[in-house]
Symmetry: C2
Subunit: 427 residues, 2 copies
Amino acid sequence: MADLQVLDLHASLTDRALNSMNFLNEISHHYPDAISLAAGRPSEEFYAIEDLHSYLDIFSRHLCDDLGYDEEAVRRTLFQYGRTKGIVHHLVARNLALDEGIEVDPEALVITVGCQEAMVLVLRALRADPKDVLLVVSPAYVGITGAARLVDLPVLSVAGGNDGVDLEDLVAVVKAARAEGLRPRACYVMPDFANPSGLSLDLESRRRLLTVAAEQELLLLEDNPYGLFPAAGVDRVPTLKSLDTERRVIYLGSFAKTALPGARVGYVVADQTVAAPDGSVGLLADELSKIKSMVTVNTSAVAQAVIGGKLLANDCSLVAANQRERAIYADNLRAVTDGLAARFPGGEVTWTVPSGGFFVVVTVPFAVDDALLEKSAHEYGVLWTPMSHFYDGDGPITALRLSCSSVTPDQIDAALNRLAALITDQL
Amino acid sequence: MADLQVLDLHASLTDRALNSMNFLNEISHHYPDAISLAAGRPSEEFYAIEDLHSYLDIFSRHLCDDLGYDEEAVRRTLFQYGRTKGIVHHLVARNLALDEGIEVDPEALVITVGCQEAMVLVLRALRADPKDVLLVVSPAYVGITGAARLVDLPVLSVAGGNDGVDLEDLVAVVKAARAEGLRPRACYVMPDFANPSGLSLDLESRRRLLTVAAEQELLLLEDNPYGLFPAAGVDRVPTLKSLDTERRVIYLGSFAKTALPGARVGYVVADQTVAAPDGSVGLLADELSKIKSMVTVNTSAVAQAVIGGKLLANDCSLVAANQRERAIYADNLRAVTDGLAARFPGGEVTWTVPSGGFFVVVTVPFAVDDALLEKSAHEYGVLWTPMSHFYDGDGPITALRLSCSSVTPDQIDAALNRLAALITDQL
């Protein structure tokens, strides 16, 4: 039999980053009756199958009415191989101008199979040499660590601190890496309601981060899946990309939380120029497109049409389109933090009070590992995520992440009772 | 400005494989009025927007009626994050049993973003070490070479010969590689109406290839996008995978030609076992799934639903569903080979007469390069593909590929007149 050993396969397959996601998925399958404060899935409350049909129709009509396509060209656009950089780039560019204050040439956009493919394309392009490294603000989204593993790009952690990114540590990590002969290519950061920390950078921190990145000649990879979901009464802060005057920021975009994850449509803004040895100059987006042509060829035209239709149905602004979702997330976030306050008045257990997004981090006076999660699922009927999954090191981590995005206030109440019982029994 | 040099990016970006696709796309954009015998696109004749709607509905009803999902679960399946290995695996398994005689556990399937992602997942898993190499039957589809470049996996060419694969050369290449300390991981082959050669392996060659692969302890990567399109009167030959009794073959599947490319849905059959150091044994499909979770997370559920609906609408057989397309391709193939015979009676120009598929290779008594293609587009108004794009080396190649899949017989007639004028002017 032509069978294999895992140790003969790529090293990523035995790496924690790739197995973490698997473990977390499996545990929720094993305990389907446990209440899940683990999954970072969007709310399903307003999903309607009819919308898929109407979005497809709206996008088809747009191709005819606004772009002047004949029927054959419309069919070809939806069914056939097409433009590698995508077919909704002009709508995404309009969306970025309206919702994010980012003015970008649609040619500098690559529409991708979710934000995850965007990360893979960018890291694949940037990893040219064994000396290349990626800086990642820690604790970090598992997807960026996993993508880095797939392209053999080592990750150096930068402390997140209390403000979302510790700029002194960033400079220290860059300098130490360069002293070792390494080449830091970029720093990955989620400035708005980060997964998993829940932290956001304020405007001043964003400006300073841009200054430091310029001083250190570092690209910034800005990932922004949650920016449209500030808590009640909180104003949105401008994205790094909208403050970026020197093409320092590669912006990674997602429609998973603002439209629907099942389309798997994301994008990257890559307006950096790339000079070739023959003196010609192109856009980084075009280099990423070449890589994309060998990863997925195109992003599904059918899926792009659904997202294009949703954008068109909302005049290309998703802020207004997500008011109901924003209210749900804000209420849930408050239910979690208020619920924790009611159950843990003593100070032994602490938690973050994020200004938006999906995630609250709870710190407890004991190590939180996968065994405790298993116990929690089995004996207490509540799921959450050990924060250890978001750190690269092996040290014990005494915190867990709660996600409030796909549960009701009643489920939050019941889940927090169960969590409180678990925590109290550990103390 | 934070701008970049292409030489500071991953080496694949200056590689011919990644730039070839780009060059060929660009030339067809520059000469939109030239008749294209270049693109390997499927026929667009039977595309209908209504089908997208009805396929979505059929798949939704299947989830309810056949799988017992309630409405909430149907919505969740189409809109939300889901199973990494896909949601149409059971239908694809039925399709493989019916159309290909391949009996496979649906758990051994990973549904991918087109066949291209399947290649990337497999090559990423197999490339563990700098000594790993991939064998590819030459001339080769650019997508496999490009995918290999992205994971830094060197490619060794195996002669295709006149039968589709030269088994003596295969053994010689494996032995020479091993003598150099290299580790050949697999051999990529397209046994049916290959792109670009048009050649097919007969049944006896397939059996011998499986025997040689077993003797050499080599995996085979079988890619089969064109198998449903034999020429008129030609019987289909069993796939390698259906003849494979020892899990020697990883089967790469595509719906781009048999359903629609715009869905971007493909798959891989990976029923090999993988043993972990702790003694546990899983499926290669599950290892590929871990990689997929870091490349695209999921294949678009909306796109899978369209393909699932098309399969359901045809009782999971695409042979019958593609009779009209098969007839078009068979007629066109004949129009090309008959048309060449009528125009080049002398013997100085020769061509293959494939038993099916999309491609005819024309050999001429002069080197065929990109400059000649440019001249052909500009001065003669006909596009085709220099065969040099499908070879890894730099030597002059005196052949060109004609594709007959997305043109009419009248266009073929006109295109061959133009091509004949070009060739005659070069003689």
